[in-house]
Symmetry: C2
Subunit: 195 residues, 2 copies
Amino acid sequence: MSLKYAVLAALLNGEASGYDLAKVFDVSVANFWSSTPQQLYRELDRLATDGLVQARVVQQERRPNKRMFSLTGTGRDALRGFTLTPPRPTTIRDELMVKIQAVDEVDPDAMRALLEERLERIRDKLARYERLRDHMLDGSTEDEYLVETDQVGPYLTLMRGRSFEEENVRWCERTIEVLAARADRAARPGGAEGD
Amino acid sequence: MSLKYAVLAALLNGEASGYDLAKVFDVSVANFWSSTPQQLYRELDRLATDGLVQARVVQQERRPNKRMFSLTGTGRDALRGFTLTPPRPTTIRDELMVKIQAVDEVDPDAMRALLEERLERIRDKLARYERLRDHMLDGSTEDEYLVETDQVGPYLTLMRGRSFEEENVRWCERTIEVLAARADRAARPGGAEGD
DNA sequence: ATATTCATGTAACAAGTTACATGATTAG
DNA sequence: CTAATCATGTAACTTGTTACATGAATAT
């Protein structure tokens, strides 16, 4: 029920095609809502038939035609209504955490590899967030930007995404250390299991 | 596909009923995987028919009978196999963030109220995490526990849940400040929109 | 030559949510 | 006397995922 509003919120930044949104839902909005392109196309169709967004077909010569979507007044009202309503609790689904829960069942080295891979991904993501932030700030300091901009929402959610990923980095690094210390201890003749 | 493994991982802590798991999936496991009781009952049935868990009916006099589930060897193997496989990216769904994305469309005071409510919830959650941590540590220091315990997984995921919520607190507080500063500025005669 | 980007879509399937139902027990 | 806890389940519905398909343009 609320991919709907995530899409409407994304359209606050102006007209976008399904394809555009698919990209947006993989960077800025991916901090707090994710979706596949297929879901977006489906949702956009629905929103259009319900009159919450309007579609405009753009003819293109060297590219397939595209439909650009924008918020209607009704859509904006619906979004406002939703926004004032208490949010349901956050849901997180992280397979890596399930695997870590079971870490004691498997080879620590294999787990270390998974953690390293995850670290790389997160660092890429953080780099993208940082570029997006620089682009938003456009030379201003954060303090200036925060009081002066007319749209503070996207910046605030971006900052939440950033700190989430930074915390993730710290946790992964710490976890690698802990697993190494345990593996080390298990390998040491003097400190093995039976003590 | 992987509520399945989240359930198996939860059963590493020993036998549990569907009802037990429903509670667990609302505290410790809720850091990284969530599910409704209905989903759990469905999943447990499936796991039992697939032989990954075994059910044992416990007759009770003053309570409805219950089925206690435990991991089978096959189940444990399946979990190990899953654990060694690369995790898919984390998905987060947070309605509050969608609402914050649209914060510039609505009354800042209403948003402040939503943020305060969220803060209270998080603080409750943190308190529960802290109790669970104390219970795990059982008098040891963290450093002692981390090398000595035979199951470090649940502690590591709990710590990730904790830092997630702590970061959440910081972000909510900061966001309340930012919105207050902006509202203040907008209300001040000298600093209104047209400047 | 090959991969990636642009741009959309259908269909089948899997996972997750909500509403409802039952029914005794114990705590406030 | 009322609410919460224990303990499970069915059925209907909504979301979300995966696989597949098309087809030109540009970048490597």
